[in-house]
C-alpha cells in the first residue's frame, strides 16, 4: 500500500485509544517501529496497514483509521509477532482487543462481516450445546454470509462424513446448562465493568 499522509488535527486523535486496546499501554508506546512483527506475519501481504503501521496508528491515537483497517481481521492468532517483538509487546492480544472493539462499535467492513460472523456462529453453537458441533456451525455461518458457500463445502462435508469424521447429530453432554450460566454471568460482569468505567470517565470530566 502506498504511504498515506495525514493532516493531523486534535479532533482526529484519541489519546486514550492505546489504553483501551493494549493490555499494557506503556509497553505499546515503546514500539520502535522495527517491523519484526510485519516480517513475521504470514498474512501481512494481504493487509491494508502492516502490523508495524497499525501499532503506529494506535500509538498516535488515530482511532477511526485503525478500527476501519482490515489488518486485525486477518490476524490468525499465530503469535509469531508476539514472541519475536524486541519490546515484548502483547501484539496478538492487542489484535484481539481491536476485533472486540470493532464489533462493539459496529464498524462495517467486508472482512469484519465474514470473520466476526464466523466467530458469532461459533459461539452461538457452543452456547447451545456446551461444545462445538461442526455441521451446525457451518450452517449458521453460511446462512449469515451466503448460503451458496454451503454448496461449495458440500463435497468436503460428504467426504468427511464417509470417513467417519462428522456425525449427523451432536453427541449429548452434561456441560450445556453450566455453559449457559457462564455465558449469562460473563455478560453481567462485562456490563457492570463497562458501566463502572463510564461512570469513572464522567467523574473525570
Amino acid at each position: 500500500m502506498p504511504e498515506k499522509a495525514f493532516n493531523l488535527t486534535r479532533e482526529m486523535l484519541d489519546h486514550s485509544f492505546a489504553e483501551t486496546v493494549a493490555p499494557d499501554r506503556e509497553k505499546l508506546l515503546t514500539c520502535i517501529q522495527c517491523g519484526t512483527c510485519t516480517a513475521s506475519c504470514p498474512t501481512a501481504y494481504a493487509m491494508d496497514y502492516t502490523p508495524r503501521q497499525l501499532w503506529r496508528l494506535v500509538q498516535l491515537g488515530l482511532r477511526d483509521e485503525a478500527l476501519h483497517s482490515r489488518t486485525f481481521w486477518l490476524c490468525t492468532n499465530c503469535y509469531s509477532c508476539t514472541i519475536r517483538c524486541p519490546r515484548g509487546i502483547s501484539l496478538t492480544e492487542t489484535m484481539a482487543a481491536l476485533k472486540r472493539l470493532a464489533i462493539a462499535e459496529d464498524v462495517q467492513g467486508e472482512e469484519l462481516a465474514h470473520v466476526s460472523r464466523f466467530y458469532r456462529a461459533f459461539m452461538e453453537t457452543v452456547r447451545r450445546h456446551g461444545r462445538n458441533y461442526e455441521p451446525e456451525l457451518l450452517v449458521r455461518y453460511f446462512f449469515n454470509t451466503g448460503p451458496l458457500g454451503l454448496v461449495d463445502q458440500a463435497p468436503l462435508g460428504l467426504a468427511m462424513w464417509r470417513h467417519g469424521r462428522i456425525s449427523l447429530t451432536p453427541k449429548p453432554n452434561g456441560a450445556r446448562a453450566e455453559v449457559e450460566t457462564i455465558f449469562r454471568k460473563v455478560a453481567e460482569v462485562d456490563a457492570l465493568r463497562s458501566l463502572r468505567s463510564e461512570r469513572d470517565q464522567e467523574a473525570h470530566a
Binding site: 490468525t76 499465530c78 457451518l138 467426504a159 460473563v186
Partner: protein, 292 residues
C-alpha cells in the same frame, strides 16, 4: 499412570482419529487418558473476540472440574492446550481478573485459581514417558520413511513451555529415535491459516501452499493439531492447482505414527479416517520397517 484428559470438540468429530490413536498409544505405554467428565468447549479463537472474560471463564470451568482428579490436565489439540494454559498465565498476578472469574464460576459452584499444570500430549510423551521408553515399546522401526514434522503455532507459541517457539525439535527427536528419516522443514511453525480457511479462503489457501509447496518426496507430514491437520489435508486439490503441481501428501497425527511403530492395529488408530488414504504409507512401512 492415569492422566486427566481434556479431549476438546474436534476429538468428537473431525479429529476422532487423533483421539482414538492418542488413547491407544497411551494404553500401549501403560498409561491411561481418563476423559474429564462433562467438559465444555475451550472457546477456541472465538470467545476472545466476543469477551475477554468469556475466553478465560470457558476453559477455567474445565480446569476447576479437573482439580478433583489430580494436579494436571492433558490436551491433544493445540488450541485447547493454549486456552487452558492461558488461563494460568492471565490469572498470575491479576487479582482483578481473578475476582471477575470467581464471580462467574460461583454461578456454577466452582472456583479456579491457576494451580493446575496444563500439558500437551507431545510434551507428556517426550518428557514424562520419555523417548527411550517409547523406543523400547516400538515393535518395528519406522524404517527410514521420510517425514516432515509440522508443529504449527499454539503448541509452542506463545508459551514455549517445553520446546522452542520458532524451531521446536521435540517431535523431530522422537521420530528420528523411532527410525524415521526427518527432513529439514523450515516451515514447521508457520501458520496453517486457522479459521481463515472458512472466512478468507483465498488467504488460507496461499498459506497452506507456502507450507506444502516446499515439501518434496516425503511419505507424510506429521501434525499435533486437528485444525492444522484438516487445513493441510482437505484442500490439497485447490492448493495443488495454485502451485501448478498435483499434491497428494498424507497428513498424519504423531500418535498414529507412534501407533504404527508400536504395531497397533490400523483400526485402533483409525487410519481409514484420513482423506488422502494411508495405503501407500503403510505399504512403504511394511517394506522398509523391520520388526524388532
Amino acid at each position: 499412570m492415569n492422566y486427566t484428559y481434556f479431549p476438546g470438540c474436534c476429538m468428537e468429530g473431525t479429529a476422532s482419529d487423533y483421539d482414538a490413536s492418542a488413547r491407544a498409544v497411551m494404553i500401549a505405554l501403560g498409561n491411561e487418558l481418563v476423559e474429564l467428565p462433562d467438559w465444555n468447549c475451550c472457546g477456541a479463537t472465538g470467545a476472545e473476540v466476543l469477551s475477554h472474560l468469556l475466553s478465560v471463564a470457558l476453559p477455567a470451568r474445565n480446569l476447576a472440574k479437573a482439580q478433583a482428579s489430580g494436579d494436571q490436565i492433558v490436551a491433544t489439540c493445540s488450541s485447547c492446550y493454549f486456552n487452558l494454559f492461558r488461563v494460568n498465565a492471565l490469572l498470575a498476578g491479576n487479582p482483578e481478573l481473578q475476582g471477575e472469574l470467581d464471580a462467574v464460576l460461583a454461578g456454577v459452584g466452582l472456583r479456579y485459581d491457576g494451580r493446575l499444570r496444563v500439558r500437551h500430549l507431545l510434551e507428556l510423551l517426550v518428557t514424562d514417558v520419555g523417548v527411550r521408553a517409547i523406543v523400547r515399546r516400538a515393535q518395528r522401526r519406522l524404517g527410514g520413511i521420510r517425514v516432515a514434522p509440522y508443529y504449527g503455532c499454539l503448541v509452542v507459541r506463545p508459551y514455549a513451555e517445553f520446546d522452542g517457539p520458532d524451531l521446536p525439535v521435540s517431535m523431530d527427536r522422537l521420530l528420528t529415535a523411532l527410525g524415521a528419516s526427518v527432513v529439514p522443514y523450515a516451515m514447521k511453525t508457520r501458520c496453517c491459516g486457522g479459521v481463515l480457511m472458512t472466512t478468507q479462503p483465498d488467504i488460507a489457501l496461499k498459506l497452506v501452499g507456502d507450507l506444502l509447496g516446499p515439501i518434496r518426496d516425503v511419505d507424510c507430514v506429521v501434525t499435533v493439531c486437528p485444525l492444522c491437520q484438516i487445513n493441510l489435508e482437505a484442500y490439497q486439490r485447490e492448493v495443488g492447482d495454485r502451485l501448478g503441481t498435483p499434491l497428494q501428501i498424507p497428513i498424519i497425527y504423531f500418535t498414529q505414527l507412534l501407533g504404527l511403530a508400536f504395531g497397533l492395529p490400523e483400526s485402533d488408530l483409525k487410519l481409514q479416517s484420513n482423506l488422502m488414504g494411508m495405503e501407500k504409507l503403510t505399504k512403504r512401512l511394511s517394506q522398509l520397517g523391520a520388526w524388532v
